[in-house]
Amino acid sequence: MATRAQSNSQSSGTPTGEESAGRSEGPSADPFEMWRQLYETNERAWTQALDQAMNRPEFGASSGKMLETILAAQKAVRDNMRTFLETINVPTREDIARLGELVVGLEEKIDQVADRLDTIEDAVRGAASKRTR
């Protein structure tokens, strides 16, 4: 899916040789610099470790279970909210969505009628051009 690899789309941001030389003079007190050094030293190892951990069917299974648990909780919240809104006679999201579906369906029907008119128009035009020949 076409998202996300921000790292792929940006320039590498690799420091120049001069900058690197300057940075390697000694430990820095700048927290950003400390983080950068920590990141650069460990990035490859961290990525490799996570790759090994995540590129396995067990990770897929575990994340599936986690998602299922979150969904169960989310569904309970949604169901309770719907029951509450119905009890106090307020339209639920589903009610409003159903109205929207009717409008979308109506638009599709109009499109179908327009398609048929186009077909008829094309046929009439074709017949007319044959007659004039």
């Binding site: 899916m1 076409a2 998202t3 996300r4 690899a5 921000q6 790292s7 792929n8 789309s9 940006q10 320039s11 590498s12 941001g13 420091p15 007190a29 700048d30 927290p31 950003f32 983080w35 950068r36 990141y39 990035e43 961290w46 990525t47 996570l50 995540m54 590129n55 396995r56 069917p57 990770f59 897929g60 299974a61 994340s63 599936g64 279970k65 998602l67 299922e68 969904l71 169960a72 989310q74 569904k75 949604r78 999201r93 589903e94 409003i96 969505a97 159903r98 109205l99 929207g100 579906e101 409008v103 979308v104 638009e107 599709e108 499109d111 398609d115 186009d118």
Partner: protein
Amino acid sequence: MTTAPVPPWLDPETVWASNDRALEMARAILGSSDAPVGLTPKELVWRKNKARLYRYVRSEPATQHTPVFLVLPLINRAYILDLRPGASFVEFLLSEGFDVFLIDWGTPGDEDRALDITTLVTRYLPRAAKVIQRTVGAEQMTVLGYCIGGALAACFVALHPEFVRNLVLFTAPIDFAEAGQFGLLTARDVFPIERLTDTFPIVPGQVPDIGAKLLNPIANYLGTYTRLSEKLGDPEFDVAGWQAMYRWVNESVPFAGAAFRQWVVEFYQENRLARGILEMDGRPVRLADIHCPVLNVAATKDQIAPRATTSAITSLVGSADASEAVIEGGHVGIVVGRKAKADLWPTVGRWLRTHD
């Protein structure tokens, strides 16, 4: 009495410099939601439900005969191909003399829970193509699909070859036999697709977004900000460009439930398109029915749509003129940015000119 030396981390110069850097980072990140994007002038020529078909405004008449119809993915904002002036594939195509159309799928609402990929391919794309025919007066067009949009474009071309002169695919997953980590995450016995679409009629954009970021979590969650803090010290760093890209990366679009289910089940789990058993509206969708010239663009470091998923198309189509351009880079990097300008755009421009 002697005074103790000030510890280096309390050195006022360092403290204030770090403070400024932190504020600059916060400003860059927080300001990204308003970053100007998609600025090439365009006019709305057709709309259906949330989908919009735009025609990009040309200052002079097109010099190429075949219009280009851009089909974008469902889960991303459409402006990725027109990110900002100087980093816009649309702008490039216009400068090459093409008439450019783009379908933006928009943001689905709860009322679109039943909107599936079949509907988009059989009811939206053909009508949009008819509008392009009428608007330009050209019988056929080049259909160019990016990522999921590429899979949709391939299905559309297989079902409606009458509209299409050329098919161009950018990192479009077609064969899911070896779908990499996404394949593992969405495997039939582990991914609760029914429960997900039952709970969320419209699948939140964060679901595919987190899945994609987990393909390279260190780079995506830590590297992005580490590099930003580094680059902010560079006077030549283009903050606006970074913000535009950051905005796109983080501005995910929800997926209509039925479309998401169909994408996961029929494409990822059952691999119906590559196996030639996909049906839409009762009609078989056979890639072998594609006989027009095809250019497939694959990225060497694509983790989202690995080479195995994208490269299969050239051997599956029935076209005698099917070629592949392999571009150095990642799924998004080959489409925008400096490398895109140097590699992808000229390659595609040349191919389109010779197939006009």
